[in-house]
Structures are given as structure tokens and as C-alpha cells.
Amino acid sequence: MKNIPVSAMIGLFLTALYFLTALFAPLIAPYGVAEVVGDVWEPSKVEILLGIAPEGFTESDYWLGTDNIGRDLLSRMIYGGRTTIFIATPATIISFTTGSILGFVAAVLGGWFDQVMSRFVDLIMSIPTLIFALVVLSVMPVTIPMLIIVMGLLDATRVYRLARAVAVDISVMDYVEAARLRGEKLAWIVFREILPNALSPLVAEMGLRFIFAVLFVSTLSFLGLGVQPPEADWGGIVKENKDGIIYGIPAALIPAFAIATLAISVNLVADWVLNRTTSLKGGRG
């Protein structure tokens, strides 16, 4: 662990910070998530310290100020991060397990299974994901497990395509043929011969997909079909505070900043993992 490059250190630190904050949100947040503590859009302590607060304000109790109905924005950001990360993570896990396993199996078996799966996935992918999700969620009850499953399965189509493309290349290698001639079952070929050799592109894709999941859940919430008030999430916070931008109030930009830093730090970690796995002895260059 001593050879971690600086970029990966920064990424690891920030990612860990976000995940720990999400995990311990109730202990860290100074106020409750729906607790009204002050006036509408009070300036933040940060603004006062930097001397850029509107005239007449000299002190504030709130690090990031208050939102459109006077709730503490820092607390809502912390709880919102918890919701966002807790939805995006399981959704990514679902999309990767289903997508990659089905993709590998399709590549190994070929024939009608491959045809049926691939055409079905093409069909789903031909409908814009957001619109598809909006339709499904307007019919189904909008609960958090439902959100996770819908997002996970829709994203699995992309992972399926990647996994199949990678595995098709690997499944014609002599060592896979050797395993077939040995009489190995499908599970061994998928998990022991193909998966270890397909890991690098999948890890790279995972970093990206996680961030897409964060953006996706934020978009849904912004449109009102994701996390329902009074629960907070980053997309919801943007929606609630978007009118403030007209008055020069930066509250809506804070979640955007959080998403951006999370995206960069997760991908810094993914890049590092990628470098490590490709330089593994005998890894695919």
C-alpha cells in the first residue's frame, strides 16, 4: 500500500470522506433533515468569513446557510449525500452483477441465448433511459428499493454490452478452449477463466457507471420522480433552491459541487485500481 500515487491518495481520501459522512449522517449533521431553524436563504458562515456576504449580515450559525424554507443546508447536504450514495451504490452493484454475468454467459454460449439476450438489450437501449425510467416510475410506487432496482436494471444493459464485447475476445483464447475440452461447466469458465481477464475494463466502467447513477438519481429527484420530500437528496436540493439563483443565492450550486468532487475522486480511485490490475503479472496490457 506504500506505493499509492498522490492522485489516488486524494481520490481515496475524498471518496472515504463522502462514504463515511453518508454512513454516520445522523451523528455528524448539526440539525435534523426536515427541521426549520432559521429564515429563508440566510447567508452562510463561509460567505461571512470570506467577506462576500450581502450587506448587513455579520454573523451566521449555519456553515452553508439555510434553504428555501429555512432548513440548515449543511444538514440537508449530509442527509442528501446519504440518500444519493445509498441509492447509487446498490444500483451500480445490481447493474454490474446482472450485466456482466449475462454478458459473459451470452459470449460463452453464443447461439440463440446470445441472440435473444442481445436483441432484448438492444430493444431496451433504443428507448432513452430517462424517459423509460420516468414511465416505469410513474406506474410503480416510488420507493427507494424500486428506484434502485429500476436504475440498476436499466444500467445493466450498458454493462451487458461491454461485458459481452470483452468476453467474446477472451472466449476464443486457447485457454478457454482448453477448459472446454477438459469438460468444465459454464460457471467455471465464466468465473475462473473469463472474469479475471475481463476485470480491467469492467473496473474502469464501474467508476463511470457509479457517477452516472448519482447523476441519474439526482435527475429523477430534480424532476420530482426520485426521492420524495421531506427526505433530502442532492437532486432534490437543487430543485428546492433553483429559484434562489435568480437572487444570487448559491444554495443550488452546492450539490452540483458535491457531485463533481465525488465524480472526480471515485474515478481517481478507479484509475488507480485499473493501473494495479493491468500491471498484475500477466495482465492484459
Binding site: 475440452l181 468444465e184 481477464n197 500477466g282
Partner: protein, 545 residues
């Protein structure tokens, strides 16, 4: 020495390596090599992979490939030290005074441009000729190199000519700008033996006619003996021996050179057929899915327990397809296969675990025949676990026994394939197939990707193992020297048919049919003047021509 064209003094070449888990550091690949080459002479550079022979060849063009740097010494071409020349001078040199012929012409030609355009490009860019003159010269060279229809072949695209022809086009490309020196980097290695002869002959005559000097790089001493005046034997970046062809071939001084000269001297007594064949292939006809062309026609061969059947032929003769049919990867259209007294199901799914266990396969490319993410222990241990249910200490003990049989120590247990040399990789593949306790192992060109000395070791190992384990080999190869060394029976294949089949002595004793004669006479011999003898009494043209 006014006619010395190339003078290399104390050439040192280095590169930076990046081993995982360590700091990058510099290593030296070539440690001070010196030689002279007079105008119109040919110097053969010979050595195993990693000997630095290609690197030295490219250094004659002041070029280092893939991060390789020339770190010291002098390379004089036409009376100036090209390592000290500026980029402009070097640019004039490359493709003008010195040109290059690479191993794989198929990979080196641009598939989207006509041959003529590529052959004349360097000469025109260098300003040696105008387009018209360059094309005339190219046509002249095509004729000199024995290419069919020399006036129009330049109008074809690279995929429209055969491999042997393309290699000759590349030679024309190198000779077109009237260079003083041509660097040939393994120009015939990727070709069939019968095609190799034509290309060798063409190259040799072209060198003689144009009076150009050449550096001829190869790993095959028998080949280099036919074309060179002098030979330099290299090993691990050092000169082992440097002398005239006559001296190197007939009177080698160093042990390493002696080993190279005497390689392929394995003797193997032919065994008589015993009662029941272990594998009996009857009247197999096969074609690939979606094609209307039979790759195999009515092939029948028998293989007896503990013996070796060699299947010989050029690329495209159907010998690897036969292996796919026997393993069940390609169900035949007609015919049947019986194995160990049982009738084998034509496709893989219908075969019992016992069938699969007793019929193992070793591949040509050991690199891709092993999962790069599994250790040697896992690779060898898996068949033990899978077929015999071995676990823990019992499995480990058996793996160590197998490692000992293939002459590798217990320290290899935790290594990954990338940490093994080519020969060691092939040994691990052998151990993996032996672990299943098979009755028959199909060896598909198992030595053709290896250096001659290493290949020799593998063949010896296979013969020893045959004695111990009493396993039969179906040995697929294009290399007749290998066949002579190890087989009991031989099947010569040509265009999907068995051309000649029988015991080794019978097959290798005249009278031959024309194809067997061509094939047998095409194997390079470690003898001066062999090339001329062969060309003098050929009865048919090779297929790749």
C-alpha cells in the same frame, strides 16, 4: 579497407525496464558488438529470441524500436558515423542507403494501397528516381525475384498475392531505391518450408545481381548458411562466435555454436504397430460451418498405444482441422472416430468425462493456452481436482511430481505464466495434459514457436514422457526435422487428403510422390550449397507460389 561499407565498433544498446513493484531502471541489451561488412557481402546474424539480433540490425539504420536506445559505440556506414549524424542525414540514410525487410510482409504492407505504390514510395521520396523510372525498376525487380506476371503484379493489392510473393515484393521494395545495405529481419520465418526455398533463392539471386550488401537476421542456422558469406552468432547481447560460413558450419569453436549446429540430432527408433489402435480415424470428411468446401476429404489414420503419429503438411493442408475433428470441436460430415475401443461421439457435448480425460491437447502458442491470471499450481492442479477429485496435500504432492517430470522445481508452483520463458510455458502445458493421465495427447505444432535449442529440449522431454507414461501422441507439424526425430508413423497431408501414410521408414524412403519429394527436399540442411542442389532437381512448384 576502402571497400568496407559498414563498420560497427563496440555497439551498446540499452533500454529502460519497468518491473512491477520496483523502480524503473536501465538495462543493457547489447554489450559491445563489433563487425565489418564489405560492399556486396552478406553477414548472417543468428541467435535465439532475446539475443539482440534484430536490435543490432535496426541499429544499422540508427534506429531503436520501442524505447530501445543506442547507448554507445560507433556505426559507420559509407564512411560516416551515423550515430553522430543529425536527423536530416539519418532520414536520407533510411530508405535510401539502408533499407529494411521485415518478418511479416503481411503486417508491414498497407492493405489499402497497391503494391506498386508502396514499392516505389521510398525511391521517389528519397529523390533517387522519378515515378516512371522507379516503376520501371520495380517491374525489373519483380521479374528478377521470380514473381509471376511482373508487369502487372504491382497493380494488385497486398491481399491479392500469396505470403511468399508478398515477402518477395517487400524485398523488391527494399531494393528499389538502389541501397548499399539491406537489413533482412527473419524474412522467411513465417513461411512454409516449400515457399521458404523460393524466397531464399530469390533473395540470394537479387543480392548477387544488384551487388548490395546485406545483414541477414534469423534464428535458423541452416537458412543463414545458404545466403551468407560470414556469420555472427549472438547470445544475450554478446558475440559468441564470428567467422566465415564455412568455419561456423564445419568447424565451430564455441560450445553454444556446436549445440546450434548439431541441433535436431535426436534419434528415435520406429516402433512396429501393436494389436489394437488407441485412436482410429475412419473416412473423415469435414467442412466448417457456413462454407461449401470440404477441408478434409476421406481421411483415415490409425494410432497405436504409446506411439507417435506425425501429421505433416503445409498451412492449409487440413492438419489442424483434423485435430479439431478428433477433439470434437468440429463434428465431421462423414466418417467415425473410435478411441480406446469406444466409438467417440462426433461433438464435444456427447462425450463422457472419461473420453475427455483420456484425450488431451497441447497447443502451439503456450502463451495463450494458459490463463494469465492463474498460477502454475492452479493450471496443473485443476485437471487433478476436476478428474480425480484431489484436494489439499494430495493434490500438492502430485503437482510437485508433475513439475519434477517436466524438469521444473517446486519454486514454479506460485508463478504466473508471464514469469516463465517460452520453453517453460510449453512444459507447464505438457504437465497440465499429463495430469489427466491421458491415453492420447494431440500436439498441435508444439515446438514451432520455440527457438531450436529449446524445441529440442521439449521434444526430448516428450519422448522420455512417452516411455514413462505410455501415452500416444498425434503430432501435428510442418517441420519435417521434428517428424524424423520423434514419429513412428507419418501421414503426409496435402489439400485435405492424406497423400502418403505409413511407418516412418516407409514414408521417408523413395520412391516418393511429387509432393512428398518437394516437402522433404525443402527442409533446410546445415550444408553449404544445399539451396542450389535442391532448386536444381525440383519436380513441382510449391503451393504458396
Amino acid at each position: 579497407m576502402s571497400d568496407t561499407l559498414v563498420k560497427v565498433r563496440d555497439l551498446k544498446i540499452g533500454a529502460t525496464v519497468y518491473p512491477p513493484g520496483e523502480k524503473p531502471h536501465d538495462i543493457e541489451i547489447v554489450h559491445g558488438v563489433s563487425f565489418d561488412l564489405a560492399a556486396g557481402k552478406v553477414l548472417g546474424l543468428i541467435g535465439e529470441s532475446g539475443a539482440g539480433k534484430s536490435t543490432i540490425g535496426l541499429a544499422a539504420m540508427a534506429y531503436g524500436r520501442g524505447g530501445v536506445r543506442i547507448t554507445g559505440g560507433e556505426v559507420w556506414v559509407n564512411g560516416r558515423d551515423i550515430l553522430k549524424s543529425g536527423l536530416g542525414d539519418v532520414r536520407k540514410l533510411r530508405g535510401g542507403e539502408v533499407t529494411y525487410v521485415s518478418q511479416s510482409a503481411a503486417a508491414s504492407f498497407n492493405p489499402a494501397k497497391k503494391i506498386m505504390e508502396q514499392v516505389t514510395e521510398a525511391a521517389i521520396v528519397q529523390g533517387k528516381f522519378g515515378r516512371k523510372e522507379a516503376e520501371d525498376r520495380a517491374r525489373e525487380l519483380f521479374a528478377k525475384l521470380g514473381l509471376p506476371d511482373p508487369d502487372n503484379i504491382g497493380e494488385r493489392y497486398p491481399h491479392q498475392v500469396s505470403g511468399g510473393q508478398l515477402q518477395r515484393c517487400m524485398t523488391a521494395l527494399a531494393l528499389c531505391p538502389e541501397p548499399d545495405l539491406v537489413v533482412f529481419d527473419e524474412p522467411t520465418t513465417a513461411l512454409d518450408v516449400t515457399t521458404q526455398i523460393d524466397v531464399l533463392k530469390a533473395i540470394k539471386e537479387a543480392i548477387k545481381d544488384t551487388g548490395v550488401a546485406a545483414l541477414y537476421i534469423t534464428h535458423d542456422l541452416a537458412v543463414v548458411a545458404q545466403v551468407s558469406d560470414d556469420i555472427m552468432v549472438l547470445r544475450m547481447g554478446d558475440t559468441v562466435e564470428y567467422g566465415s560460413v564455412d568455419q561456423i558450419i564445419n568447424n565451430p569453436q564455441e560450445d553454444y555454436t556446436k549445440a546450434l549446429v548439431s541441433v535436431r540430432s535426436i534419434e528415435h527408433e520406429e516402433k512396429a504397430p501393436t494389436a489394437e489402435p488407441v485412436l482410429s480415424v475412419k473416412n473423415i470428411t469435414a467442412r466448417y460451418k457456413g462454407t461449401k468446401f470440404d477441408v478434409l476429404h476421406d481421411v483415415s489414420v490409425d494410432l497405436y498405444p504409446g506411439q507417435t503419429l506425425a501429421v505433416v503438411g503445409e498451412s492449409g493442408s487440413g492438419k489442424s482441422t483434423l485435430a479439431r475433428v478428433i477433439t470434437g470441436l468440429l463434428p465431421p460430415r462423414e466418417g467415425e472416430i473410435s478411441f480406446a475401443g469406444r466409438k467417440l461421439s462426433p461433438d464435444l457435448d456427447g462425450r463422457s468425462l472419461e473420453d475427455l480425460r483420456e484425450l488431451q491437447m497441447i497447443y502451439q502458442m503456450a502463451d495463450v493456452a494458459m490463463n494469465p491470471r492463474q498460477t502454475v499450481g492452479t493450471i496443473i492442479g485443476r485437471p487433478l481436482e476436476f478428474y480425480f477429485g484431489m484436494r489439499g496435500a494430495e493434490k500438492r504432492k502430485r503437482i510437485l511430481e508433475l513439475l519434477e517430470e517436466i524438469e521444473l522445481g517446486p519454486e514454479f508452483l506460485d508463478r504466473y505464466p508471464a514469469e516463465l520463458s517460452g520453453g517453460q510455458k510449453q512444459r507447464v502445458c505438457i504437465a497440465r495434459s499429463l495430469a489427466a493421465k491421458p491415453k492420447l495427447i494431440i500436439c498441435d505444432e508444439v515446438t514451432s514457436a520455440l527457438d531450436p535449442l529449446v524445441a529440442d529440449g521439449i521434444l526430448k522431454l516428450l519422448l522420455d514422457l512417452q516411455k514413462i507414461e505410455d501415452v500416444a501422441y498425434l503430432f501435428i507439424t510442418h517441420d519435417l526435422a521434428t517428424v524424423k526425430a520423434i514419429s513412428d508413423n507419418i501421414a503426409v497431408m496435402y489439400q485435405g487428403k492424406v497423400q502418403r501414410y505409413g511407418g516412418k521408414t516407409e514414408v521417408l524412403t523413395p520412391p516418393f510422390d511429387d509432393y512428398t519429394d518437394l516437402l522433404l527436399s525443402s527442409v533446410p540442411e546445415m550444408k553449404l550449397g544445399w539451396l542450389e542442389e535442391v532448386i536444381a532437381h525440383r519436380k513441382m512448384e510449391s503451393a504458396g507460389n
